[in-house]
């Protein structure tokens, strides 16, 4: 793979299912074109039934696309070798319960082509890392949902993949476990691993991802860098003791002034107005507590996109 080559690239990827009895066609994914650059943390978002999991399954060749192409590391995704550097944690996984945690890690790593020595070392490391060292030789049937999820993550990392695809990784995991997963993913991202995250937990995605794509009814509704998508168009300044005399001058510069528990909050439309406001406050001897850029949350962006998408239809 050349350095500039996308890790994931799809062109017009489409999947239509035909219902057996009614012969009705369900358009699960419809002409989805997406590109994920190496080393990024990419979040795929969408409401239930929007085609996220179908999209991932097509990338991993679990289901065959109706139309379009998908490439992993520049190789056609139908070629098994394209998946050699992919680690995957499915959403509703069913790990064989007759294996112990350690046996399961060995099994999946062997399928990925890891040598025996590497598997032994790596299994020990990862079981420790995901907090399952004490459960390594216990049958999986006795694991809780959260433990299975952590084991699944360890499984995905056994062969040191360059691309990690996670479908709802935080599902069933307690807040401590979720934090552990997030820290682990951040560590991996710093090491250059590309992370493709499919999650309903928008707060998790917002904390972790660089790029996001929102799909609705199988079509791409929005894509871009997270900081750009959530960037607002103004600034907020907080002052604990804004002088009364300054208010008259400030009213011409601010979009709004609000006071709560002695803290005055001033909204400015742009950077120039903000700087002028700061000058006025300082001239009146007022203290400035905080200045921050106005941002939308990912949830705001998500809801707005979904609503717009519905209106367009």
């Amino acid at each position: 793979m050349s350095p500039a080559q996308p890790v994931i690239q799809t062109e017009g990827l489409t999947k239509h299912f035909r219902r057996f009895y009614t012969r009705r066609v369900v358009q699960a994914v419809n002409g989805l074109s997406l590109s994920v650059e190496p080393g990024t943390a990419f979040g795929l978002l969408g409401p239930n039934g929007s085609g996220k999991t179908t999209f991932i399954k097509m990338l991993l060749s679990s289901i065959v696309p109706t139309a379009g192409t998908a490439h992993l590391f520049g190789k056609d995704c139908r070629n098994p070798e394209a998946r050699r550097q992919v680690g995957y944690l499915p959403e509703n996984h069913r790990f064989p319960t007759y294996n112990t945690g350690r046996q399961m890690l060995h099994f999946y790593a062997a399928l990925s082509g890891s040598s025996r020595d590497e598997r032994v070392t790596r299994a020990g490391e990862l079981l420790e890392r995901v907090g399952l060292a004490d459960w390594a030789d216990v049958r999986i049937g006795k694991y809780s949902k959260g433990m299975l999820q952590r084991l699944g993550l360890a499984q995905a990392l056994m062969h040191r993949p360059l691309l990690l695809m996670l479908d709802e990784p935080g599902d069933g995991v307690d807040p401590v476990g979720r934090r552990m997963i997030r820290d682990l993913l951040q560590e991996l991202q710093q090491q250059g691993t590309t992370i493709f995250l499919n999650s309903h937990l928008l707060a998790e995605v917002e904390l972790f991802c660089d790029d996001v794509a929102i799909i609705q009814r199988g079509e791409l509704a929005l894509t871009g860098r997270l900081d750009q998508l959530t960037a607002g168009s103004g600034y907020q300044l907080s002052s604990p003791d804004a002088a009364e005399g300054a208010f008259n001058e400030l009213r011409e510069k601010t979009a709004s002034i609000a006071s709560n528990n002695g803290m005055v909050r001033l909204q400015f439309a742009d950077r120039e107005a903000l700087n002028e406001g700061i000058d006025i406050l300082r001239n009146h001897g007022s203290q400035i507590e905080e200045v921050q850029r106005q941002r939308s949350t990912l949830e705001d962006v998500f809801m707005r996109t979904i609503e717009e998408s519905k209106e367009e239809r």
């Binding site: 991993l60 098994p80 992919v86 990925s112 082509g113």
Partner: protein, 240 residues
């Protein structure tokens, strides 16, 4: 590339082994077939004097109607009945014990993860098929080892014959064993060191070795194959 392919196939085979051993149905049929073979082994006892049937006991009870009957006729009749029964039961046991091994791999939630690895569907199918064959193959090797043990140290020269005879040879021995099991444990007319004696000993061990479903299946298949030799007493010369 070839090493990776072999390693992945090996992992699939090992996984099939673990899965089969973890199944209660597998052990259930193991128990059932063991009971069945023990039943055939112990239920019928025939005493023979000068080539004729002196007494027949079923579940320890005398069955006097058999006196004076030619031993070959008794063996043929009993073996025929047992073979038909075992063919049906063996087929049932083996199909039910191993039927789920491959379909479980293709269950939702499991197949997606397997296919995310650099293996194709055909490779998965091949690995599991080879795994299932390996489980059956292990039974075959085990039963061979048991029968070799049954030959005794003075008859090791027959070992080559057993292995050389291959599967068909083993199946014949099993069927002969069944004849012996069905007719009782003792043939008073045999002479120590006689090849027939050796074969009967080996065959008797094979009855135990054939306890597991797949062995039972092979045994039953041979019994139902229609080969006339299966219904006769030991063809000792065949193993020399």
């Amino acid at each position: 590339m070839i090493t990776r392919y072999a390693a992945a196939t090996g992992a699939l085979v090992a996984d099939t082994f673990r899965e089969s051993l973890s199944r209660k149905i597998f052990w259930g049929f193991f128990g059932c077939s063991t009971v069945l073979m023990l039943l055939f082994l112990l239920v019928l006892n025939i005493d023979i004097v000068k080539g004729g049937v002196a007494a027949i006991k079923i579940f320890g009870q005398d069955f006097n109607g058999g006196q004076g009957v030619e031993i070959g006729q008794v063996v043929n009749a009993v073996l025929g009945g047992v073979s038909v029964f075992l063919f049906t039961a063996g087929l049932f046991f083996s199909v039910f014990a191993s039927a789920g091994l491959i379909p479980t791999v293709f269950e939702p939630g499991r197949i997606e993860l397997l296919l995310s690895k650099p293996v194709s569907r055909s490779h998965l199918l091949l690995g599991n098929f080879v795994g299932t064959l390996a489980v059956i193959g292990c039974n075959l090797v085990l039963s061979n080892l048991w029968s070799l043990g049954g030959l005794g140290p003075e008859n090791r020269h027959l070992a080559g014959g057993f292995f050389g005879g291959g599967l068909v040879g083993r199946l014949r021995v099993w069927c002969v064993a069944d004849g012996r099991a069905a007719c009782g444990r003792d043939f008073p007319q045999r002479r120590p060191g006689d090849d027939g004696d050796v074969l009967c000993d080996a065959a008797e061990r094979d009855v135990f070795a054939a306890r597991e479903p797949c062995s039972l299946f092979q045994f039953a298949m041979a019994a139902g194959s229609g080969d006339g030799a299966l219904l006769r007493l030991p063809e000792v010369s065949w193993y020399r």
